[in-house]
Homo-oligomer: 201 residues x 2
DNA sequence: GCATTAATGTTAACAAAGTTAACATAAGAA
DNA sequence: TTCTTATGTTAACTTTGTTAACATTAATGC
């Protein structure tokens, strides 16, 4: 009565990996521990994944997908171009705050190399495409001059890097959002700040 | 003729650790390898540091110090408040690009916990104080109202998170600065971008 | 149905890493 | 000199990633 072929090891491993990741982050995820928790031999995961990076890649892919979905949902629901940029930034930070470990996984250095996992690269590209399309979609149909296109691109980079910086510093605890304020409006305030304006109150 | 007490093990370890970190990042730094490279037994580092975190903390402290120095040098040299904010952001990103591994060490999750290494916490606080003072110093002597002070603080956070986001995305390869442009002016362009302005060319 | 092959498990081993304990030696203080 | 402390060493223990060798089940071809 060998317990061979219980049938769904791959999915169970992935789910447990998700659980561990959420609680302890990518570093705390050990293949052997994962196998033990799943009730399977310590070498079994290697039959379903390309080692540790393989599992991390699989988890990262689904994280990228959820990330992209949430961003797209926000982008689609908003008419005004300026508002969309801002709300996208807020959604970006919200995802990071709600799923800090996933956010770290997809942006940190424990993420497996994109060029070794084509599906991971695709998932990453897709997420950033969503961002960029949403930020530059104001005159997608209009014919833009080259400089206009460049400006739109630059604006996308600016919006992205701002949201990213806020997200990083907040989940690292370097910036503590005020408790008496909604996170979203706090983020919007930072995004809107115009550094070129004079400081006069 | 035991090779006991060669005298300077602690500093040599630190220097080698720096070398390894620069080349391979915090993850590639192994205590045992470090000991072997230093020509000392594999347990010797424990006589001088509180394990691996202890060494990382020591390296992170000096990284923070250099970081703060470079920022302060820029801040002191610039008269205009607006220009100072911008140049500080550029210097922030420049440090990250020139010393990506150090930047990752002081901001990433392989950094030892601040509350376990008081000197590390001090070094971190000092670096951020430099930033904040520089950004809010426009009317340091003038008496500000509460809301003015809050605005200045918010502006500091905005400037910091922008520089941080750009730095992160650039050293992670997600943003590739244009080759035909100076890195500094590229960064300035991103920092100056006003997301609330209409997109008209 | 049966034999062969592929997929999926298992156990056992290896190397590398962090860490600690037990012991050895050098330097400095009493 | 003697005792204490600082500094090194060796040897172990544990955990982890990974692979090889082997076992069993499922699937496929005849």
């Amino acid at each position: 009565m060998g317990k061979y072929h219980h049938g769904d090891v791959r999915n169970v491993l992935l789910e447990k990996a998700e659980t561990i990741l959420t609680k302890e982050g990518p570093t705390g995820l050990s293949l052997r521990r994962l196998a033990r928790m799943t009730g399977v031999s310590e070498a079994a995961p290697y039959r379903h994944f390309d080692g540790k990076d393989g599992i991390l890649a699989a988890v990262a892919i689904s994280a990228f997908e959820r990330f992209a979905e949430q961003l797209e949902a926000v982008a689609e629901a908003i008419e005004s171009h300026e508002e969309r940029i801002m709300k996208l930034g807020a959604a970006y930070v919200a995802f990071a705050v709600e799923h800090p470990q996933h956010f770290r996984l997809i942006f940190g250095r424990e993420r497996p190399p994109l060029d070794q996992y084509p599906e991971l690269r695709d998932a990453a590209d897709n997420a950033f495409d969503v961002l960029q399309r949403a930020v530059t979609s104001v005159d997608r149909k209009a014919d833009m001059t080259l400089t206009e296109a460049a400006t739109a691109y630059n604006r996308a980079l600016a919006a992205w890097s701002r949201a990213h910086g806020i997200a990083m510093l907040v989940i690292d605890g370097m910036i503590v959002p005020p408790a008496d304020q909604d996170l979203g409006s706090f983020v919007l305030g930072l995004l809107e700040e115009d550094l070129t304006a004079p400081t006069g109150a």
